[in-house]
């Protein structure tokens, strides 16, 4: 029985060509084209992953690409900075009153400490000069490169930021990255280390990355030595790992980089004394040989806008 196709034609309109054999082959060729395109793109992605992961053949290309993108990222940052500052200003107002009270108490305490410490620093410098003391690397042995953060971590998986300075500024893989500080000559808290360098940009692995580990000690009790690693929970909480149960670690103690310990051939990448964070909790478990120490970083990793990269320079 012949079918009436007039209704269907009316619905689909005149743009539908109904020449049966050619329409069918066109749909098949379109499906083939679609599969070929997506197949090629997936294959290209796998090739890129393999080459990029296994060799540095694409590093030059990536470096050039990143350098081309840099002005656009800087422009985007500058255009949106007023809006960000406005948001930050309003957010600051909310906490300002409470924070002001706390800070006044802290300032009075810190003033007393500064007087004592200034005297100790002066005495230390005089003694070092008198003894012609050659100690391990210190912050003074590094050149500072102040730079802005171009790209923040893009997902919970990636704990790295991209900064606006690269090999052209003397930055090398392994350069230490700290927060900026108001004091000249002083150093802010540890942010991370440079793990990939292009000509004008560099990638910084944050302390919160699972691959990061820093030898650290308790400022109040130098016999406590452990490794600062990322915590398993919230991204900003770190753990001071491998600390035996015996040395006492107090809540609120400041944790700093330990620098090179002993005279072994393996030297620490970090000079001693860079602040990392404060101890927020400490517990022992019978199943573990070590203490469970949680450290709150002094850096707010969610809002790092600028950093100082410490570039090693030869000692005289």
């Amino acid at each position: 029985m012949p079918r009436n196709r007039t209704v269907r034609l009316a619905v689909l309109g005149s743009s539908v060509q109904r020449a049966a054999p050619s329409g069918y082959s066109s749909s098949r060729s379109s499906a083939v084209k679609r599969r070929v395109v997506v197949g090629l793109l997936v294959l290209a992605s796998f090739v890129l992953i393999t080459v990029s992961f296994r060799s540095s053949a694409l590093d030059g290309l990536q470096s050039t690409g990143a350098s081309i993108l840099r002005p656009f990222e800087v422009a985007a940052d500058r255009v949106t900075r007023p809006f960000r500052d406005t948001v930050g200003w309003f957010r600051g107002l909310v906490d300002a009153k409470n924070e002001n009270k706390k800070l006044r108490v802290q300032v009075a305490e810190l003033r007393r400490q500064v007087i004592v410490e200034q005297s100790a620093v002066q005495q230390n410098a005089e003694l070092q000069k008198a003894l012609d003391y050659k100690g391990p690397a210190s912050i003074a042995d590094y050149r500072r490169v102040n730079t802005a953060v171009l790209a923040n971590p893009q997902s919970p998986v990636s704990q790295s930021v991209v900064v606006d300075a690269g090999s052209a500024d003397g930055i090398v893989k392994g350069s230490i990255v700290v927060e900026p500080t108001g004091r000249t000559g002083g150093t802010g808290a540890l942010v991370g280390v440079v793990d990939k360098v292009a000509r004008h940009v560099a990638r910084v692995m944050l302390l919160t990355d699972e691959q990061s580990a820093v030898t650290a000690t308790d400022l109040a009790n130098p016999s406590v030595v452990g490794a600062i690693r990322s915590g398993s929970g919230s991204g900003d909480v770190l753990i001071l790992d491998r600390v035996p149960k015996q040395p006492y670690v107090g809540i609120g103690d400041t944790i700093i980089t330990a620098g090179t310990l002993g005279q072994g051939p393996l030297r620490s990448m970090f000079p001693r004394g860079i602040p990392i964070g404060t101890v927020v909790s400490r517990s022992n478990s019978d199943a573990s040989l070590f203490q469970n120490i949680q450290v709150r970083s002094l850096v707010d990793f969610s809002s790092v806008r600028s950093v100082i990269v410490l570039v090693p320079q030869p000692r005289p």
Partner: protein
């Protein structure tokens, strides 16, 4: 013309993603690039979505000095799949962009985690699971304005353009 417009939209979205959106802790898990890509794919089909996804992924991997190809692979598959959904069942359904964004956000994060794990890099599953609800909510919130903008820039194709593959039986 569509390719040029898509290029500009995804480039601007990438810049916003890299420098602006992730600068706020609360918005760190949102991905305006993913939302923009899915909106365009939904309106322009699978091949367009796959090519746009590949190019955008390459741009993001280059800018973040990440392993080239990782984001490209995920966005190519995401763009293609949602493009195909747009060509077939989605059509003009109101829920299509929201459903697409919700499903692809989850699969994108899990895919990223799987690729990191396979490459032997840190794959903190706890952090991803912890950030997933936030990412889902923020991406869904972004979907309404981004899809509305994409719809203005890429008006839905005429009926003839969309039903090229309809095969009349009989």
């Amino acid at each position: 013309m569509d390719a040029l417009k898509a290029g500009v939209v995804l480039f601007v979205a990438s810049l916003l993603q890299l420098s602006v959106l992730t600068a706020y802790g609360a918005f760190r898990t949102a991905s305006i690039v993913l939302v923009a890509l899915l909106s365009i794919s939904l309106l322009r089909g699978s091949i367009f979505g796959a090519v746009a996804g590949f190019a955008t992924g390459l741009l993001l991997d280059t800018a973040t000095l990440g392993t080239l190809g990782v984001t490209s692979l995920l966005l190519t598959i995401g763009g293609f799949w949602i493009g195909r959904y747009g060509e077939t069942t989605a059509r003009d359904r109101f829920h299509a962009p929201f459903l697409s964004v919700a499903v692809v956000t989850i699969l994108y994060l899990l895919g990223q985690l799987l690729l990191q794990f396979m490459l032997g890099e840190p794959a903190p599953a706890a952090l991803v699971v912890h950030g997933l609800p936030g990412a889902l909510v923020l991406n869904l919130l972004l979907t309404l304005p981004v899809y509305a903008l994409a719809r203005r820039l890429f008006p839905p194709l005429e009926l003839g353009g969309r039903v090229r593959e309809v095969r009349l039986l009989g």
